[in-house]
């Protein structure tokens, strides 16, 4: 044997499953994996259950028909589909300019003053406010006071309630997205004699458009599925939309109203609406991921 005493035992570096630390490691990994599975199961079950229940009752005509009067068969959710699109569009018209503008102010112009701190704090609080509070707020502000040309419940009121919910997300993602833009880029623009306004509009904002768009899409995805703020703002209507100052049906309120009715046709429609809503929101989230992936390139 020429092996010197310094040579390692050939198995010294091998993995030994019998050691206490290796067993503890395996046990902890198993526990973490179990809880992770339990955490994700409800999510998968809900989506799969809604998809299966919904797709089995889906008919192409559902997209263009009105819900039937109680007791009758058939019908569709065409009015709620249009209503959701209209109310969401109205909420975007209010929340996107205000939210993006607020985010630009916070990130670019505020210079971390007291007011900006207050707005950031307020935004965080607003993000945690239950959605029904947004509904109550708009109800008290617009619906009960009939300030919109004497109309009470209306699509505009519903859109405003959703806009309140979307604001914190949009302000925050705009603020954070602009902070990610390298400072050198601002210096570069200022260095060639651009004003603060031009620098922000022409250089900084285009560089942050992907995270901002992601935030807007995520905010839409969240608000499109909200029920509570719409129940007493946009209310509901079994008819085609009559205008943005009149009550309007939306998918989420349709599900809320129909799922608890004792009629088979209405329950079927609620399942179909659930399916469409889930697919829409899933699609929005995938779209948001696609946009943010766009930014990384």
């Amino acid at each position: 044997m020429t092996t010197s005493s310094a040579t390692l035992n050939p198995t010294a570096l091998h993995h030994k499953p019998g050691l206490l630390r290796n067993q503890a490691n395996a046990a902890m990994t198993a526990i973490a994996a179990t809880f992770a599975t339990i955490a994700v199961l409800p999510l998968i079950f809900v989506i799969v259950y809604v998809l299966i229940k919904g797709i089995s009752v889906l008919r192409p005509l559902m997209f263009i028909e009105l819900p039937p009067p109680p007791g009758l068969e058939g019908g569709g959710i065409g009015n709620a589909l249009i209503g959701t699109l209209v109310v969401t569009l109205i909420s975007c018209i209010f929340s996107v300019p205000v939210g993006v503008g607020g985010g630009i102010y916070l990130a670019e112009f505020s210079q971390a003053n007291k007011f900006a701190e207050f707005v950031r704090f307020g935004t965080n609080v607003l993000a945690g406010v239950p959605s029904i509070i947004a509904g109550v707020f708009i109800y008290g502000l617009i619906v009960s006071t009939r300030v919109l040309f004497g109309n009470s419940y209306s699509a505009v009121a519903g859109g405003l309630a959703l806009a309140v919910l979307m604001l914190p997300t949009i302000i925050k993602t705009t603020d954070e997205g602009l902070k990610l833009v390298p400072q050198e880029l601002r210096w570069g623009a200022l260095g060639v004699g651009a004003s603060k306004f031009i620098t922000t509009m022409k250089v900084v904002l285009p560089a942050a458009v992907a995270p901002i768009a992601t935030g807007v899409v995520l905010a839409i995805a969240r608000s499109a599925g909200e029920t509570a703020p719409l129940i007493f703002t946009a209310l509901f209507s079994p008819f085609w939309p009559e205008g943005i100052f009149k009550p309007m049906a939306t998918m989420s309120v349709l599900i809320f109203n129909f799922a608890i009715m004792p009629y088979e046709a209405q329950i079927t429609l609620a399942w179909a609406a659930s399916f469409i809503l889930v697919v829409m929101i899933l699609g929005m989230n995938i779209f948001a991921r696609w946009i943010s992936g766009f930014a990384k390139r």
């Binding site: 050198e184 210096w187 570069g188 004699g193 250089v203």
Partner: protein
């Protein structure tokens, strides 16, 4: 500690920027103290010195870039064309249109190469042929051959050295009077550095250039005048305050410096 006065008797029309007893502070902390300096017109002036001596700070005051730092304050006067740049009525945007800046890291806009050049010209109300201006600026910055076939591609598609020359082209496209360069080659490899230096030689015919550099050989290669800054510990305070030690022709600074500190720095004994 002695502060030497460097105001010389050169006629006014040969001076581009004058520092008259400039002291720059961030909050209560003094970064640079009592700088007297006359940057000559149509020449390359280099600022050298160890880290933290305030050379970049002084440079950034020449086009009011330090305004972006909230705690910044300046005492004394910086005079350009007979105007104090820090008078309350002065608009920093107007200053920066005449005194352009190239930064340490290449920072092209996330736009096409063409738009990178055209941006500054448009916002400055340039009425001539923008195509021609883009070509002229890129040629002057010695980067035309590398990007003439891909003007519509993103500025980020260029290499680091090409990006930096694109940034120089962007700066000269706005037709400034003075170009400030804050360690323009510190993020570049030696070959790109040489190309940027060649560009500087081309440009000094027409522009006054002030360059901050950590690289003493670079100062020797590109500059006509050199200012050496140093930092000293403050008596009874924390931190260091920068000051201008010596300002002279580059040859004198490197071969025949008048101050002990300069001698030690240029011979590589500290810094």
């Amino acid at each position: 500690m002695t502060f030497t006065t460097h105001i010389t008797d050169v006629p006014d029309e040969q001076v581009a920027i004058t520092c008259d007893n400039v002291t720059i502070s961030y909050g209560s902390f003094e970064a640079v103290k009592s700088v007297f300096l006359e940057v000559p017109r149509g020449k390359v002036t280099a600022f050298i010195g160890p880290s933290g001596c305030g050379k970049s700070t002084v440079l950034r005051c020449f086009n009011r870039m330090n305004d972006l730092i909230p705690s910044f304050s300046l005492k004394g006067r910086i005079i350009y064309e007979g105007q104090d740049l820090y008078e309350p009525k002065v608009d920093p945007v107007e200053v920066r249109r005449r005194i352009g800046m190239v930064f340490q890291r290449p920072n092209p806009f996330p736009k096409s190469i063409y738009e990178n050049i055209a941006f500054g010209a448009r916002i400055n109300g340039y009425t001539g042929d923008i195509d021609e201006l883009v070509e002229r600026s890129l040629r002057r910055a010695a980067v035309w051959d590398e990007c003439k076939d891909k003007l519509q591609e993103s500025g980020y598609s260029l290499s680091g050295g090409q990006q930096q020359r694109l940034c120089i082209a962007r700066t000269i496209a706005t037709q400034p009077d003075v170009i400030l360069m804050d360690e323009p080659c510190s993020a570049l490899d030696p070959i790109s550095t040489l190309k940027v230096e060649e560009t500087m030689h081309e440009l000094k015919e027409e522009f006054t250039i002030v360059i901050v550099t950590h690289n003493m050989q670079q100062a020797v290669r590109v500059s006509d005048m050199t200012a050496f800054y140093n930092a000293v510990a403050v008596e009874g305070g924390s931190g260091k305050v920068g000051y201008l030690v010596e300002f002279d022709e580059t040859g004198n600074i490197f071969n025949n410096p008048q101050q002990q500190a300069t001698q030690e720095y240029v011979s590589g004994r500290f810094g």
